[in-house]
Symmetry: C2
Subunit: 288 residues, 2 copies
């Protein structure tokens, strides 16, 4: 008994700490991915469902003028699309899943795998236990770093950061302080966040270990955010001062990440990456 309609677009579904993605292998660079298709793919009821789409395409065939020159440094381009169909530069959890696929498909050898993204080339390293570590660059202050976060009547001081996407990190004693995060927290001061902001509530459990919740702009509270984990560690280290450790375990609702800050400020994000399903999709049916 054969499978039904095995023709169509090849896909995989995977996640890193429950930040989940549909991967679309496109080794010949023939797949034209429009916003409507991405939205339909990511729709969790009428599509396959995911936080975003990762098209796997040779860098030389990316057809993006800022990306193609990277083909000398990285064979594969992670064409990342948000669930709303918009383009994105990078995704810390996504790049691990992307590299897991490259390795398992024999498209890259490892343990070091450079990946071209719209934010430049990122170097991933596959560790012996399967954990994948990715260079995320450095965090910079948004404005002077002074920020606030507000939910209902309650307000917290926060640190404003760019990783390079915007984050406001509030250190709290109790992660339940913010209650149910149904609407985006308000972030200040006025004029600091013209394009919105990702908000982290962070509890320092001990030096080198923190637990966090994150509200991603345009999405809602999520189970994990890679750049948010990096931002949380930067804020925790500033809070602890000179004795703060460089390496942190970061517990998010979807699992544990490891964030290490180098002496030059560059950040490494490490964690699991799992592929759970693979098969074929009928893109025409999806968007019909």
């Amino acid at each position: 008994m054969s499978d039904v309609g095995s023709a169509g677009q090849r896909f995989l579904k995977g996640h890193g700490t429950h930040n989940d993605f549909v991967l679309l292998p496109d080794v010949e660079g023939l797949l034209e991915l429009d916003a409507a298709t991405v939205i339909a793919l990511c729709d969790r009821h009428r599509g396959l469902g995911a936080d975003g789409v990762l098209r796997v395409v040779p860098t030389a065939l990316s057809l993006e003028q800022d990306v193609e020159p990277l083909s000398g440094e990285a064979d594969w381009f992670m064409d990342y699309r948000n669930a709303d169909g918009s383009l994105s530069e990078m995704c810390g959890n996504g790049v691990r899943v992307f590299v897991r696929y490259l390795i398992e498909a024999g498209l890259a050898v490892g343990p070091d795998v450079p990946v071209a993204t719209r934010g430049g080339v990122r170097l991933a390293h596959v560790e012996d236990d399967g954990t994948i570590a990715v260079e995320m660059g450095a965090a910079t202050l948004r404005g002077n770093g002074v920020a606030t976060v507000q939910v209902g009547d309650r307000q917290w001081p926060a640190l404003g950061l760019e990783v390079p996407n915007p984050h406001a990190v509030a250190l709290v004693d109790d992660l339940d302080e913010a209650g149910r995060l149904l609407d985006p927290p308000l972030a200040g001061p006025d004029g600091t966040w013209p394009d919105g902001v990702n908000v982290e509530f962070v509890r320092i459990d001990e030096p080198g270990h923190l637990t966090m919740r994150v509200f991603e702009r345009g999405v809602g509270e999520t189970r994990s955010c890679g750049t948010g984990a990096c931002a949380a560690v930067v804020a925790a280290r500033l809070h602890l001062g000179a004795d703060a450790p460089a390496r942190w375990d970061v517990d998010v609702p979807g699992g544990r990440l490891r964030v290490t800050v180098d002496s030059d400020g560059s950040i490494e994000l490490a964690g699991p990456a799992v592929l759970v399903a693979r098969g074929h999709l009928d893109l025409a049916t999806l968007t019909a």
Copy 2:
């Protein structure tokens, strides 16, 4: 270039008016499906994501003493599991997706396809345009039918029904009256709903056409509920009285269903059923 890890459990993903399911073909009856696996499969971030799982197994191999005797009437058993891992008798949207798969896989011929369920055999009919109609049985009053539904400070009179799962249907002028349905509406009178209740808010647009919202017990507000659509039509017809039409278009957030009430009270639910993806899953990875 070959696909990655094509071994594993075969699956399909499909939906009926955005009520979505993972189908697991199990033609040899060898798949032991435990609650943990179902929960992991239906998890929308770490699994594939769905409202429920439909195992496709020969009725004679169901290993359920109430189901196996149905093998003379229906070749295939729809082993339906809710996303929380619990067993369920029937699912009006699910049975259409189940039949769509049987037809496309060549496991049934149609246009009439009997399906064994824990609620007995249901007869499905595939119409010329692909719509699938399913006999849902009759609705009966819960208690004397008098019920109430409450959200916050606002209360509506409602009709209490069993289809055979419990429903409280409130007719409203404006579907926004109930606001955001984040928590289960309260339903009365006391003692009427010991196992919870599905709540429908229904606006009669004209005789033969209604629009509804539904809050499913244990799930939340959903884009579609097959038995809820049936309950809504029964309530609308009682409201309109003797001249009420038998056939209704029912608009749910996920699309349009057709509900027809026969003169003997039996209800037919008809609507679309779409298969969007197919492939292989690594069940061991999912539950690891």
